[in-house]
């Protein structure tokens, strides 16, 4: 490995959070962005291929780089109680996050409209977990708070950036520009004779 790749490896090993490229640049003032990217690539390949790979890998997450253990060792590590996996998010939390991720900035009323339930408690706990934050206030009555996702959200879902999520029109049900083929020929017989 090149000295720069080793330096990056040490720095990433020392950090518990993903480190963005501009922070890695502070390690060596002589290194250009291209050199850093090349060194990161070198380190990544080193972990992946060098004598059948390593127990860790280099991953690009939340606009930064992070060394993570490989998934196949998770069981053993957890069984030995060296580390614990975080709690899964509830369905309510995931639904709320999904709406916020796609519609941000978005107010509580609009989330409740889509989910059909009260989301006050979920918003509070997502905010406490640092996955969402207040990003502003809407115009209009009461100036309601608007929520958006945080860098921690990207980390939690191992996303490099928000654009990595499938675009709305790539989903099976494309919705916002839904045509309205509902108006013709409704099935009246089902209404007229309920069982």
């Amino acid at each position: 490995m090149t000295p720069l790749a080793k330096l990056l490896e040490a720095a990433l090993f020392a950090s518990a959070r993903p480190v963005p490229l501009d922070e890695l640049a502070a390690l060596d003032s002589d290194a250009s962005d291209a050199a850093l990217t090349a060194a990161l690539q070198e380190l990544k390949e080193h972990y992946d291929t060098d004598s059948d790979g390593h127990g860790v890998e280099l991953v690009e997450i939340a606009g930064g780089w992070q060394i993570l253990t490989r998934a196949e060792y998770t069981e053993a590590i957890e069984r030995a109680q060296l580390a614990a996996r975080p709690q899964r998010l509830s369905a309510a939390a995931l639904e709320t996050l999904a709406i916020i991720a796609y519609r941000q900035p978005i107010g509580r009323a609009e989330i409740e409209e889509i989910r059909g339930v009260n989301v006050g408690g979920v918003l509070k706990s997502l905010h406490e977990r640092g996955l969402i934050d207040v990003v502003g206030r809407a115009e209009g009555l009461g100036r309601p708070l608007l929520y958006g996702t945080t860098p921690l959200f990207l980390e939690h879902f191992a996303l490099r950036h928000l654009e990595e999520l499938p675009r709305a029109d790539e989903l099976a049900v494309a919705l916002r520009h839904m045509p309205a083929p509902i108006a013709d020929a409704p099935s009246v017989e089902a209404e007229a004779s309920p069982e």
Partner: protein, 290 residues
């Protein structure tokens, strides 16, 4: 639609107890299979119903779906029920709207359209949830350096403070305040006597006045009030008469014509006092008082 408790089923159906019980048990089972806590909301439940029944989302048989929806939410506790009940009410309203007769050529808006839009929107969101869930699991399976699960924040220790400590703290704070800035209420009593004096002077000169002559336009409230009280007092003791032809109109003030030279009060003002009930009239009251 209704579920029959086993003991009731025996008497109603008149079947052998064993058979009746199994039928009743089946009924109970079929309507209670689904745990509502498994749903994240009324739209989730509705979508599941639609999927289970293989219903075309663009052509929902509302009557059937509403019935099944109601059957499933019967098991709900009241606290979680609110959101579901709102949806149930919505379904029943759509059902009613569907039953309304409609003309051949009448433009007809499907009452289900809004529900379909919401269901599709919800379904799209669930797809995103699947993506997120998959990615979260993927990340969960890999540890970063020194990962520590979030520690629950300990509840704050109860405040341990004795009364004397509290009092001395209050004392310290009060001492620290350089000079407590208390608000001084300056007494400004009404000056009715001098207002009366002023009105008497004016009425002596002019015999007929208006309220705006007595009170300056920008007079402070206490002067206005003094003048008003003085005026009413003078009217009460019969020294002058006060009349307001309409609400918020200017007030006419005049004195009796004891002196020959005094000019007559305006005709209409004098007439109004006797004829118009709506007028504020102190003449009668003052004459009675006198």
């Amino acid at each position: 639609m209704t579920t029959v408790p086993p003991e009731l089923a025996v008497t109603v159906d008149g079947l052998p107890p064993g058979l009746a019980r199994t039928i009743a048990a089946e009924r109970v089972e079929s309507s209670f299979v689904v745990e509502l806590t498994a749903f994240s909301g009324p739209l989730d439940l509705l979508l599941t119903l639609i999927r289970d029944e293989k219903i075309d989302i663009y052509d929902i048989p509302i009557a059937r779906v509403a019935e099944q929806f109601l059957r499933r939410i019967r098991t709900l506790g009241l606290n979680e029920a609110a959101d579901y009940l709102e949806m149930a009410a919505r379904l029943l309203r759509i059902k009613a709207q569907m039953l309304l007769p409609r003309g051949e050529n009448e433009e007809w808006e499907d009452p289900r359209a809004e529900l379909v839009r919401r269901l599709l929107e919800y379904q799209q969101m669930r797809e995103i949830v699947d993506v997120l869930e998959h990615r979260a699991d993927d990340r969960r399976d890999r540890f970063a350096r020194a990962y520590l699960p979030d520690e629950p924040t300990p509840p704050q220790a109860p405040l341990a403070l004795s009364l004397s400590e509290l009092l001395s703290a209050v004392d310290r704070i009060l001492r620290a305040v350089w000079q407590p800035n208390m608000h001084d209420v300056v007494a400004r009593p009404l000056d009715v006597p001098s207002a009366i004096g002023l009105i008497r002077q004016l009425i002596a000169i002019r015999a007929q006045l208006r309220w705006t002559d007595v009170v300056q336009q920008d007079a402070p409230p206490w002067q206005v009030l003094s003048a008003l009280l003085g005026l009413l007092e003078l009217a009460r003791i019969g020294e002058l008469h006060v009349n307001q032809p309409r609400p918020f109109a200017n007030v006419d003030i005049w004195r009796d014509v004891e002196v020959m030279a005094a000019p007559q009060p305006e005709e209409d003002a004098a007439g109004l006092t006797n004829e118009n009930d709506d007028t504020v009239n102190t003449r009668d009251a003052s004459s009675e008082a006198a």
